[in-house]
Point group: D2
Chain length 287, copies 4
């Protein structure tokens, strides 16, 4: 839920060793921070420690603008990767779309409920089809038509726009263009895609057709962070739905829409509520 | 359920055309058969008609031993493939195992409940490990050790045994040997395998390890008819279970056992209750 | 899917006896109707026969306006209840709402996709809150405020409006008023409600609060036809979602919205695609 | 999994206040305990703090036999309820059965896998039916026939037996007798029952019949701790399975068996792996 409280979130991973939890929680307590939520995980295979701590900043002795520096001092000896987020601050999320409207509508509805901590400063598309929906919701719609020749140039403009608008999260809501490695590198673990299959089955194009031809009894959808390799990034969320011989290919497409929009929405929510740590090709989700 | 009634089942597929249902149901009614269950499906993509009809033989005018011949006369003009089965007759099912006992135990328990129409005349294995379980259930256990040299010869002995025992269904309950094409051809759509992944993801060996390394959020199991291509036969049943970052590889293996045994059992039940039609690489399941 | 073909649907139930399928399918075939889909069920407990047949009217010898009369002649000897529907004709669906928008938005989006055979001639509400959404979708919005004094009178006006507009289906999309028996009787098996629990658990008000206090591990939603007894009509669709101790009451409410809108949408789709037969307090769904 | 390591588990709840996590983790770290797993939850509605900590005892400075006393000193100022368990110590689980074998077989199979930390010193029954299964598994079988007259007396003998055998967990594996309050009080949060419905729907006897008559689309099973009020104790695990109009009452019973045994097994596993805290009528499950 959108949290009106003055809470900070620490997301941290580091090599495992003795005393990590007490070192970190001690530091927060000594500075008068009340921990309201804590999740910890040790991957015994990789000997890595992961933690998410939420604490109340009301009486916290370290000023917000010095938080990163002060934690840096403590955490550098742990050889830790960490981020500090604030639950009162909404994510600035850009939505990329092409022609399908189901994922876009789902996210716009979630946004309208005020149940989730994000705002949508802009919608980007390589087609004009969904401009009307954007306008109905009074959200600026940017049209960047893309072909082989202009792709790099258009992406640079998109990146510029996203930076100007302080976008921290990009949702590919059935965006039918592959982003270039250059684009992807600019937003590590910030671009969320929905693939309409149960990855790693049916990578690439027309997964419903592939599923139909294989005669599977279950279809799936997968939401993942985008990396430079197609449909290969860390998986955030997956779900499935049963199908039967009665369903023709267009029924799979119709049913699949319900899966895609829910799976993408759930992935987005975990991301903007700062519940995800990425470790190599995997995600740790403290939900 | 095991049906004490005197019911026949017709499983039929043929090119679709007008009047098929009435032609067939008419024939049964005219001969005083009371239809108690009927499922029909037309695949509009392949223009193929599928039907399953269950009728009461009590007052049926055609003697059982002439059923096939008489239906043949009617159905040949439809260019139909068909089978007639009797619900009062139990399937004679052979179970092939290696070292894992979870699927074997599941099927033995199902058998013991008398809830399902099958008997288990024998268990075949390439290892001795599970002999004790077979003996506890008083089921003959046949040991056929297999190596590269003796494989063809041993399989011939197995085929001979299966034929002698009038086996109509073979369950590969985590049998860790690939059957040769020669063996498979002898039992078309009669050999049911369980693969411990959500096919077509993670074909081949060590699917849990593959799943663990990919960081999927859901693992699956797939039961399918065995064809000459590995893990490629018509899928009968699939199911999934959620996993999280907390689960190590051996947890996936442990959790997966529950999936494997249930998915295999459900596939077997549909098979022995004569609810499955095979069409190319797909199954039509009238459950 | 919306079916552009010229198909008729027969939904029929009657006491079970020999030869029903062939009598009915014969009649259709003799009149040059090609059956494209058929589902049949015999309830052995109640000795009742249920069937749904879809056939192509293209070359059908009986004119559409005489279909009911001609079938009546054939079917009266069977002591059958039956309806004939046309897949090319869209359902005229009225949506009743109060203040919650999630179910309304879901149905409006489904409508916009053109994937389902219904139109929405009007939205009725006892509050003004959702008028704007209706207007954005250019659907007439009728405001009928209701209190103890005016309830009967307002319902009469609503009934008049629904009749004028030839409404055949009424969806209570989280409509927070109990319809009077008089209203309900006018639309038997035509009013679809969504209750935000797994019925029959947590009947009545505040089901999420009841669920939270009971400490259940799963919450549900139930869509059913409305009868004169509250939350007691024939169930069309149910689904569930897992919850954990981490979820506070408002999290249940938030998660439950996803369930409610999907369960209601699926029930509506089965209804408008003429896949439901009602038998006493149960539904037969040929999906 | 059965953990060969020398790990301790602390399960603790207390009124929430600032610094709890650091106080506790500090104490463990200062005594050279390496925390390998930690889960924490604050119920904001009840202002209660819950924590589960697993740490390595290898270099722990406090001897095992003084653990409780030493923690008592630290934790009494927190007004905490706590337990300390050892993962290397197997639970001593007694199984109570009557005539149904599916839950018993499930638990015996789990036991045989060595995947779970429990042993089964004895099986208790009010019928002789399942003695053979106990004998096949070489587990002592105690027959305590129960009628109105002898119930109290027999229960006292059972309690004596359970105490003699140091039983810490009792599984009612479809045990068809209601335990008296006197019995229940002796084993608080140690008796696990399986009820064959989705509680609180269909409390009491014949839940499948109740479900069948209500026409639900989903059936469920619920495993819970036994309290003095029938089917009312804290819920540990629930799951469901879809049914359709095709299923007769005995099909529900048959399908339900699969649910019951899995739900009961999962509840038992969480209990014996010390992952459950009970808070009033609810469970906190750190899985």
């Amino acid at each position: 839920m959108i949290n009106k409280n003055n809470y900070a979130v620490l997301l941290l991973s580091c090599p495992d060793k003795i005393g990590l939890v007490s070192t970190i929680t001690n530091y927060i307590s000594e500075n008068s921070g009340n921990i309201v939520d804590l999740d910890e995980h040790v991957s015994s295979a990789e000997k890595t420690f992961f933690i998410r701590i939420v604490w109340d900043l009301t009486n916290f002795l370290i000023p917000i603008d010095q938080l990163n520096n002060e934690f840096e001092k403590i955490l550098k000896k742990l050889n830790a990767n960490f981020e500090i987020k604030f639950l009162s601050k909404k994510s600035r999320t850009a939505i990329f779309v092409s022609k399908y409207d189901h994922c876009l509508n789902e996210i716009l509805w979630r946004h309208s409920t005020n149940d989730y901590p994000f705002e949508i400063p802009l919608i980007v598309s390589n087609h004009e089809d969904l401009r009307l929906i954007a306008e109905m919701h009074k959200i600026p719609f940017y049209f960047f038509p893309i072909d082989k020749e202009n792709k790099m140039e258009q992406e640079l403009k998109e990146i510029e726009l996203l930076n100007e608008q302080n976008i921290d999260t990009i949702v590919l809501a059935r965006y039918m263009q592959i982003l270039s490695p250059n684009f992807v590198k600019k937003f590590p673990n910030q671009i969320i895609n929905i693939h309409h299959s149960f990855l790693p089955a049916f990578v690439g194009s027309n997964p419903y057709k592939q599923a139909y031809q294989r005669g599977v009894k279950i279809i799936g959808a997968t939401s993942h962070y985008v990396t430079e390799v197609l449909d290969d990034g860390p998986i955030i969320e997956q779900d499935i739905i049963r199908i039967s011989h009665k369903e023709a290919l267009n029924d799979l497409v119709r049913k699949g829409k319900d899966l895609e929009r829910l799976v993408l929405a759930r992935a987005l929510i975990n991301h903007i509520e700062h519940k995800i740590l990425v470790s190599g090709r995997k995600t740790i989700i403290f939900d």
